[in-house]
């Protein structure tokens, strides 16, 4: 299946400048697997989104379509073919 990951401006430099990145994964792959596939292509992106244990950083939100992933299973959240995955900085910072 194919999903599209949308990155915020702050993280695009870690993905070669891309804002919207199509990712091909096997059917049934959960969110964590999509991030694995994405960050294997853009290794510098992974540490911004997840710590070295693989946990999502506290103030990074990842939406699967309309749902913040923590409400639908976290990194185990299921995805549909054609899903939109949006990575967004949460309410923190600067």
């Amino acid at each position: 299946m194919r999903v599209t990951v949308h990155l915020p401006g702050l993280l695009r430099a870690d993905a070669g400048g891309s804002a919207h990145i199509p990712v091909e994964v096997d059917d049934g792959t959960a969110l964590g697997g999509v991030l694995d596939a994405l960050t294997s292509r853009h290794p510098g992106l992974d540490r911004r989104i997840r710590d070295e244990r693989g946990a999502l950083r506290r103030y990074v939100n990842v939406f699967v379509d309309e749902d913040e992933c923590r409400t639908v299973g976290g990194l185990a959240a299921p995805l549909r073919d054609g899903a939109d995955v949006r990575v967004l900085p949460s309410v923190a910072g600067g």
Partner: protein, 367 residues
């Protein structure tokens, strides 16, 4: 000769440069990365490599986590290693919160990082990549080291230092909150506590083997050590043997975070008192530095040039330093964003910068 002062703040990294240590040109906040996601990070650790002049900055983005940046042109441009420079191995089930301290070994390229959670990392490539020092991480005491209000971290790293006259390449003293002071004599393969005489008023045994909340340890010439504890100021020439002697008599309080040892006079040190663990404000609400010239036997105010009005910003554990010059410069920054410099042979303090974000750390060097 010029002097570089690197200032880590709660909101970014600043530098100051001077030819005479009286007039300073301040710049910042520096752009650590092109996207600016890190430029407003809290900078808890800075270091200036005495071998290469490389400046290291450990910064923590509230969104995107911690990392290390370096500059090889005195802060003009910054670079971040392609891979996470400090990362806990998978089997530790730990993740880096932030770097608290950089220190440099005798061998060029050797950099140590004290980090939160309590751990020590070592780099042999100038800070581009680090490896966990396993023996300290695996220490059986670690289960009983716990975080104080500032977080649980190895915040002091003194390569080559054990005590008076004991300097050797494979030795090191580290300090942590809480946990206390540990030393290695075999290049990090084993670690022993060295806290005898230091109090821990928050524990049932007030002088335990380990577990103290040591806020900062500073090494003077010859390896003499001064420690600012969570209540208590100490001096030792032999931490592992004779232990520590209380030297707070003559200070307005025994609480504080920072202590700086004179780089050339073993009997001289500088202290930055704070009222108490409950009240993190300067005594009498006046910005004050205290100096001893007799190894802590007596202390006297060293305040000429400092504000005389009420003042409420304290100096945090890495908010003070010396540049190590022949006539050493002394520097400190406060939580209210003021930075001051003095020379040992000078007449008092000069303001380097004011109204910065709260200062977390400073480091200075001749460049």
């Amino acid at each position: 000769m010029a002097y570089l002062l690197v200032i880590g703040t709660r909101k970014g990294l600043f530098t100051a440069r001077s030819e005479d240590r009286r007039g300073w040109e301040v710049s910042g906040p520096h752009r650590l990365d092109a996207a600016d996601h890190a430029s407003m990070s809290a900078v808890y650790a800075v270091g200036i490599d005495p071998h290469s002049g490389r400046v290291l900055a450990g910064a923590e983005s509230s969104h995107f986590g911690p990392s290390v940046w370096y500059s090889d042109d005195a802060g003009l441009t910054w670079h971040e290693p392609a891979s996470a420079p400090i990362a806990f191995p998978e089997d530790t089930d730990a993740s880096l919160t932030r770097a608290w301290q950089f220190a440099f070994g005798d061998d060029p390229g050797t950099v140590y990082a004290g980090v939160e959670p309590h751990a020590l990392f070592r780099s042999s490539d100038g800070g581009a990549s680090f490896e966990l020092v396993r023996a300290l991480w695996d220490h059986p005491h670690r289960a009983n080291w716990y975080p104080g209000a500032g977080g649980g971290a190895v915040h002091t790293v003194l390569p080559g230092v054990l005590g008076w006259g004991e300097r050797s390449p494979g030795s090191m003293t580290v300090a942590m909150s809480t946990g206390g002071i540990y030393q290695t004599r075999d290049d990090g393969a084993s670690w022993a506590p060295a806290n005898r005489g230091i109090s821990a008023g928050f524990m049932p045994d007030e002088e335990p083997e380990y577990g103290q909340c040591v806020h900062k340890v500073a090494a003077g010439p010859g390896g003499v050590l001064y420690a600012q504890n969570h209540h208590g100021v100490y001096r030792s020439e032999d931490p592992a043997g004779q232990g520590w002697t209380a030297v707070e008599k003559g200070l307005p309080t025994d609480f504080g975070f920072a202590v700086v040892a004179h780089p050339h006079r073993p009997e001289t040190a500088f202290n930055f008192p704070v009222i108490s663990q409950e009240v993190h404000l300067p005594p009498d609400h006046r910005l004050g530095v205290y100096r001893t010239d007799d190894g802590g036997g007596s202390w006297h105010p060293f305040t000429r040039g400092l504000p005389e009005d009420p003042y409420f910003g304290i100096v945090l554990r890495d908010g003070a330093c010396t540049d190590g010059a022949d006539d050493p410069g002394l520097y400190f920054g406060t939580r209210t964003g003021d930075v001051y410099a003095a020379t040992d042979g000078g007449e008092g303090w000069h303001r380097v910068a004011e109204h910065l974000p709260d200062v977390l750390c400073v480091r200075a060097a001749e460049v």
